[in-house]
């Protein structure tokens, strides 16, 4: 300190800087900057998710442009996804000739759709090659079940067994109306087909499988005599008859829509005819006002939330994943709460507070920090292969060698996550129990209540806010956890929901879809990452919202409980 003072005397030029540095102010500012950076990072992250996730549903304008390069020009049609700057060096290295002075050039990523005709959905273009940019009002965007979006100009609509309506003969407005009516009709028929296929035929298949298992079981038990066999055959014939009836219905429905078609002109002038049966919806974004677009926005948002995925998960909705996530978290909560609370009560109220209990407490605390993948490995080895394999041997020998519980599934995923979150619940509940004043317990005991009664009537109610806190933390952790689930039950596409109308309604042995895994799978394993990207942002946003919602719900519940027992605490 003295040294610095002496130096100060010599350096007269910047005494104020020195003094300022010595006061510690700069370091305080740097520390403050750390907070600012962290906060900006959090907020920025959420904003990024929100902007990218929510903008996906907005029907963007479709750009028509002539691109000319080396004496060749072609017409393009599509949505602008992004524009970036790229160094001229990189372009020249890639063998592209650029005219402008550079050194940087703007590039546009255009979603041109029409994968069935153009090969790729997306194309990078260099802006300097652009001719005039146009937004033709009669461009039609058709969302399809296969091959991604279609962009083009509508030329005609042809209904099965009816004269075609064409732009040339009937005018654009009438053709457009005809297209919309036809799509609405077709979608209704497709809905009906889907209902028959999934619900009715699904139930028949389920029943047939149960009959097969019953026959196999009887066979294993040696009880498959003639009467039983005839019985089974009768039931099977009945199901098969029902199946044939439904199949007839399906044929009729399929036939009724298969010849509806529309013809359209591509940007390059080709005219193509496509089936209406594969159309989800059609719209003319360049001709839509803000309110019409808003309507379309919410329609697409609703589809995202309630529909099933299509096109290898890159389009459509994510309802099954949402459903799977919530169902799994609920099952996990049902398992983890009683066990966690019992363990905490034992540790705090019943076990003698010695060295052993203290060690256990530390160990339980530490388990909360054990990587989740370790729980996944344990779940796979112990629950799935060991316990599940045993269960199959004992209860489901008829289905073998196909495993019932000896394969990853909903039950094992819930159990694994319950184990993963158990320490969280135990620690939180214990803290709550520790906060309850001794005088209350003593008062209850002094009035003649037994230990169990004191626990049940006094201690547990007062500790309930803490239990809720534990559960909140557990739920928040479980909903976002993906790594262990990849090993114990999550799949990229589950054909049916784990909860349906077929007995026993809740299918614990089924694999399920999960939002977190959906993000990983679509974002990283999908063949068409570029097309899937906006959907992944939307899914990520939804996952964040679900977790926030679960948290908020539990927080408000905790506060309500806390209010109720507040009077007791003083």
């Amino acid at each position: 300190m003295k040294m610095i003072n002496e130096q100060d005397l010599h350096s007269e030029r910047a005494p104020r800087v020195k003094a300022w540095v010595r006061s510690g102010e700069p370091l305080i500012w740097l520390n403050a900057a750390a907070v600012s950076v962290s906060v900006i990072a959090v907020v920025g992250l959420l904003l990024l998710l929100a902007v990218r996730g929510l903008s996906h549903f907005w029907p963007a304008d479709v750009l028509a442009v002539t691109v000319s390069y080396q004496d060749q020009s072609r017409e393009l049609l599509g949505e602008v996804v992004e524009e970036v700057e790229v160094a001229g060096v990189q372009l020249r290295e890639a063998g592209i000739e650029v005219q402008g002075p550079g050194p940087y050039f703007r590039r546009t990523l255009l979603k041109q759709g029409n994968r069935d005709f153009l090969g790729t959905d997306f194309t990078w273009l260099i802006n300097e090659q652009f001719g005039e940019r146009r937004l033709p009002p009669d461009v039609v965007v058709v969302e399809r079940l296969e091959w991604g979006n279609f962009y083009g100009y509508l030329r005609g609509v042809s209904r099965f067994n009816a004269p075609p309506v064409t732009v040339a003969a009937d005018g654009p407005e009438a053709t457009w109306q005809a297209l919309q009516t036809l799509i609405t009709d077709t979608v209704a028929v497709r809905e009906e087909i889907r209902r028959i296929e999934q619900v009715d035929i699904g139930a028949i298949n389920y029943e047939l499988e149960r009959l097969r298992l019953r026959e196999r079981r009887l066979e294993l038990e040696g009880a498959l005599d003639a009467t039983a066999a005839a019985d089974l055959a009768g039931m099977r014939a009945e199901q098969e008859a029902r199946f044939r009836v439904l199949q007839e219905e399906l044929y009729v429905l399929y036939d009724s829509i298969k010849d509806h078609s529309y013809s359209a002109e591509l940007a390059d002038g080709r005219v193509v005819t496509l089936p209406i049966a594969k159309v989800v919806r059609a719209y003319q974004p360049n001709d839509m006002g803000v309110f019409a677009k808003l309507g379309m926005y919410f329609e697409r948002l609703w589809e995202f939330l309630t529909a099933e995925p299509r096109e290898a998960n890159t389009e459509g909705g994510i309802f099954p994943a949402m459903f799977g996530t919530v169902l799994m978290v609920i099952l996990m909560s049902i398992i983890v709460t009683p066990f966690g609370v019992v363990a905490a009560v034992y540790l705090r109220e019943y076990a003698s507070q010695g060295f052993v209990t203290r060690t256990i407490r530390v160990a339980v605390n530490n388990l909360a920090g054990v990587p989740s993948i370790v729980y996944g490995v344990f779940g796979l080895g112990f629950f799935v292969y060991f316990v599940g394999g045993e269960l199959d041997q004992i209860f489901f020998p008829a289905a073998l060698p196909r495993p019932t519980f000896g394969t990853p599934g909903l039950m094992w995923a819930s159990l694994t996550l319950a184990l993963l979150t158990l320490p969280v619940v135990i620690v939180a509940t214990e803290e709550g129990l520790a906060r309850i004043p001794k005088s209350l317990r003593e008062g209850s005991l002094a009035l003649g209540a037994t230990r169990a009664e004191t626990l049940w009537r006094v201690v547990l109610p007062m500790a309930s806010p803490a239990m809720m806190t534990g559960l909140i933390l557990a739920v928040a952790r479980a909903a976002g956890e993906v790594a262990p689930l990849m090993l114990v039950g999550v799949v990229k596409l589950a054909p049916t929901l784990p909860l349906d109308g077929n007995y026993p309604y809740l299918h614990l042995d089924q694999k399920f879809m999960h939002l977190g895994f959906h993000i990983y799978d679509v974002g990283f394993q999908s063949p068409n990452v570029e097309a899937a990207r906006p959907l992944v942002y939307a899914t990520a946003l939804l996952l964040v919202l679900i977790i926030a919602l679960l948290n908020l719900a539990a927080v408000s519940l905790r506060n309500r409980l806390r209010e109720r027992y507040k009077s007791l605490e003083h």
Partner: protein, 736 residues
């Protein structure tokens, strides 16, 4: 009534105690289950007698083999016959004379360790090729194995001359065949058969030639051909070797000698030799108990030489027979006095050492699944043993230290678990995975630790209370953010961004502290009237627009700086000028993304520790004239340091175990390189990628469980240290 209540009370006690203890035991189960899955990796092999019968074979075969199901044995005998017999009874199932037109048999050699194809040398000097095949069928639910012998290269008239052949070696590929033979007079011959298939007609034409072998000194004791038919290893009785290049000849047409030398360091004569599975490694044993593995390694000058790879401990046993396994790089060594030892080459490990077994002098064979050893002695006595040796290919040293794998130029740390066929040598080295894990954790902590701790210091000590009440939950909210989202943003948004705007990212990291300091200095120069608009403890709020502005400027200046300093593209510049390779998904991306996940953990614990330092300590310091900063550095931080340390440890534990971010934000390549611009593969991501595909209870599966166990123990130890430190802190505060 009281009795009923008493009963309920007792019942509750029992229920809670059993329930609680049960839950705690279930938690312990994780540890023990992982251990249970891992331990078999380090267990030794066991063997037990299976059968010992006097068989009608009456003599020892020249070659012995066992069929896949370990039910039948196969032998080739000097009288020209091949016989298939039941292992447990000796009952003959099939007897057939091999190439009867060529006469009796003087020598037999199997091709490769699997040995389905074998070459037979006859009295007449003719050589024929055959294979033994088995067909499985289940008539009436019973397993039935039907043996069948097949002749190969039937149109070939290979002849070694009048001298009977005493030893034979054969190598076979799609392109043809090499047969080496040693006659009674000691002449070594080599014949090559080239097989050409007409693409259109499918007709096969064979052409043969005798290769000229140069004069080699000494007595030829053994010779082997490698899998590519490139090298002929000739071993002489006194322990020397000569490697002949089968593809190159010298000026006078003789095979070129590619190397010569002594096999054994301790001298001694050759007592046994064999090729390991895959036909790359040569094993040789001396009569002084030395057992060594060799294979060809490229030397610096474009040539190849036979390299001594590793020596196995034999405890001085003189090995007379070496039997390679047929699916793994393991082998059995049979000693002169009935000793049996089981080794594994890659793991460099002896799994079993048995003494004084009645092994006899005859032929020995191991079953294809390596679960049985069969010996037929000179009188036809048939003995077999069960061998339990499930996981020989792992040893502690192979997991962590460098191993010289076949076809590698030098020992290396390699993780390569998947295999296309049985010949593949699985490479289970944890070193690159552990390195990747720690590398990711290191870069994470480099980013997270300063931000989290500085942030915690400011929030706990300087920040105004109303702001603190908002900021703290906000940063802690990040803890609930699913890591899969961070990983996805890192992989699909941040990685391309950093690749594209690398200069801006680097500029930002440098400009941020500098810019903040400059702003702070300017702020201190502002008139007091302006400064007092912002109350004390709101620095962070003032800085938000400043930080955003610095960030914006850094990105806006990206192109200018790139043009000025890096020829317009920093990425290319680092690769070209600095020679540092650049992956899009690199450690910097992981560091930033995982930093986001770890910051709230460290922040929360450190902030609590600093905030709970008793206020009278800092008041005392301030009252004595210290500035707030001096008080912080001199009083508050030392008191809270155990808490900060504990936060760092827990953050480290999280960084080490995090899976999704590493999985999505790195290329998952198991390399060992500290370069921040290259990817990595961590233990946890490796588990997530490979466990679903590993066969249950296989070595690979158990190795992945071992990886999980290592992670478990690491985080458990780190967290325990953190917890103990925190408890001490609590006691310390209690006394203040």
């Amino acid at each position: 009534m009281p009795r009923w209540r008493h009963f309920k009370d007792r019942a509750a006690t029992v229920a809670v105690t059993t329930g609680g203890a049960g839950v705690l035991i279930a938690i312990l189960l994780i540890f023990f289950y992982l251990l249970y899955e891992v331990l078999p990796l380090f267990g030794n092999a066991r063997m037990e007698p299976r059968a010992a019968v006097e068989s009608p074979l009456a003599e020892a075969p020249l070659m012995l083999a066992v069929e896949e199901q370990t039910e039948l044995g196969f032998g080739v005998f000097a009288d020209g016959s091949a016989r298939v017999f039941v292992l447990d009874s000796g009952e003959l199932v099939l007897t057939e004379t091999l190439a009867p037109e060529l006469g009796g048999i003087t020598a037999v050699a199997a091709e490769g360790a699997e040995g389905r194809l074998f070459a037979v040398a006859h009295d007449s000097g003719g050589i024929s090729l055959h294979s033994h095949e088995y067909r499985l069928s289940y008539p009436g639910g019973e397993r039935l194995i039907t043996p069948r012998l097949e002749r190969h290269y039937a149109g070939l008239a290979l002849n070694t001359g009048a001298e009977p052949v005493v030893k034979l070696a054969v190598g076979d590929t799609d392109e043809g065949l090499v047969v080496a033979a040693l006659t009674r007079s000691g002449e070594l011959q080599a014949h090559r058969v080239v097989r050409e298939e007409n693409f259109i007609t499918g007709a096969v034409s064979l052409s043969q030639e005798q290769l000229k072998i140069p004069a080699l000194g000494g007595v030829t004791a053994a010779f082997h051909i490698d899998e590519d038919l490139r090298w002929l290893f000739r071993l002489d009785a006194s322990g020397g070797y000569t490697v002949l290049n089968l593809r190159q000849r010298d000026s006078s047409g003789y095979l070129q000698v590619a190397g010569q030398g002594a096999l054994f360091n301790g001298g001694g004569r050759l007592s046994a030799s064999a090729m390991l599975l895959g036909g790359i490694s040569l094993l040789a044993a001396s009569d002084r108990g030395e057992l060594v593995q060799f294979f060809m390694v490229r030397d610096g000058e474009g040539g190849n030489q036979l390299q001594r790879i590793r020596q196995f401990g034999t405890d001085g046993v003189v090995i007379t027979r070496l039997v390679p396994e047929q699916r793994r790089k393991g082998f059995l060594a049979l000693g002169r006095d009935g000793e049996l030892q089981i080794y594994h080459s890659t793991a460099h490990r002896r799994l079993l050492s048995q003494e004084a077994l009645p092994l006899g002098e005859g032929a020995a064979a191991i079953s294809p699944r390596a679960d049985a050893l069969v010996v037929v002695d000179a009188n036809g006595g048939l003995r077999s043993w069960h061998i339990h040796n499930e996981h020989p290919d792992i040893s502690w040293s192979a997991l962590w230290s460098k191993v010289w794998y076949e076809s590698y130029d030098e020992p290396a740390h390699v993780w390569q678990s998947s295999s296309a066929d049985n010949d593949f040598e699985p490479k289970y080295s944890f070193a690159p995975l552990a390195f990747g894990t720690l590398k990711a954790a290191f870069y994470t902590m480099m980013i997270a630790a300063p931000l989290a701790i500085c942030g915690a210091i400011y929030t706990a000590y300087f920040m105004a209370a109303p702001l603190r009440r908002k900021i703290k939950p906000m940063i802690e909210l990040m803890e609930a953010l699913p890591t899969v989202i961070l990983g996805f943003l890192a992989g699909l948004w941040l990685a391309p961004l950093i690749e594209d705007k690398l200069t801006a990212v680097v500029t930002l990291m440098l400009a941020l502290p500098v810019g903040v300091l400059m702003f702070a200095f300017l702020w201190s120069r502002l008139p007091i009237a302006v400064r007092s608009l912002v109350p004390e403890g709101w620095h962070a709020a003032v800085l938000v627009p400043v930080v955003i502005a610095i960030g914006y400027l850094s990105f806006a200046a990206n192109d200018t700086f790139e043009l000025l300093f890096f020829d317009g593209d920093m990425r290319r510049w680092i690769t070209a000028e600095l020679g540092i390779s650049f992956d899009q998904r690199n450690s910097l991306v992981v560091g930033i993304a995982m930093g986001m996940a770890v910051i709230p953990t460290i922040f929360s614990i450190a902030e609590d520790a600093i905030f709970s330092v008793p206020k009278h300590l800092s008041y005392g310091s301030l009252a004595l004239g210290a500035t707030p900063w001096q008080t912080l550095v001199g009083v508050v931080i030392p008191t809270a340091s155990p808490g900060i340390f504990s936060g760092l440890m827990i953050g480290l534990g999280r960084a080490v175990g995090e899976t999704m971010i590493v999985l999505m934000a790195t290329g998952n390549t198991p390399i060992m390189d500290v370069n921040i611009f290259e990817g990595l593969r961590s233990l946890s991501a490796n588990i997530a990628v490979e466990v679903p595909e590993a066969e249950v209870d296989s070595t690979h599966y158990r190795v992945l469980f071992l990886a999980a166990f290592v992670l478990f123990m690491f985080t458990f130890v780190v967290n325990t240290i953190a917890e103990l430190v925190r408890q001490r802190l609590r006691i310390k505060y209690g006394s203040l």
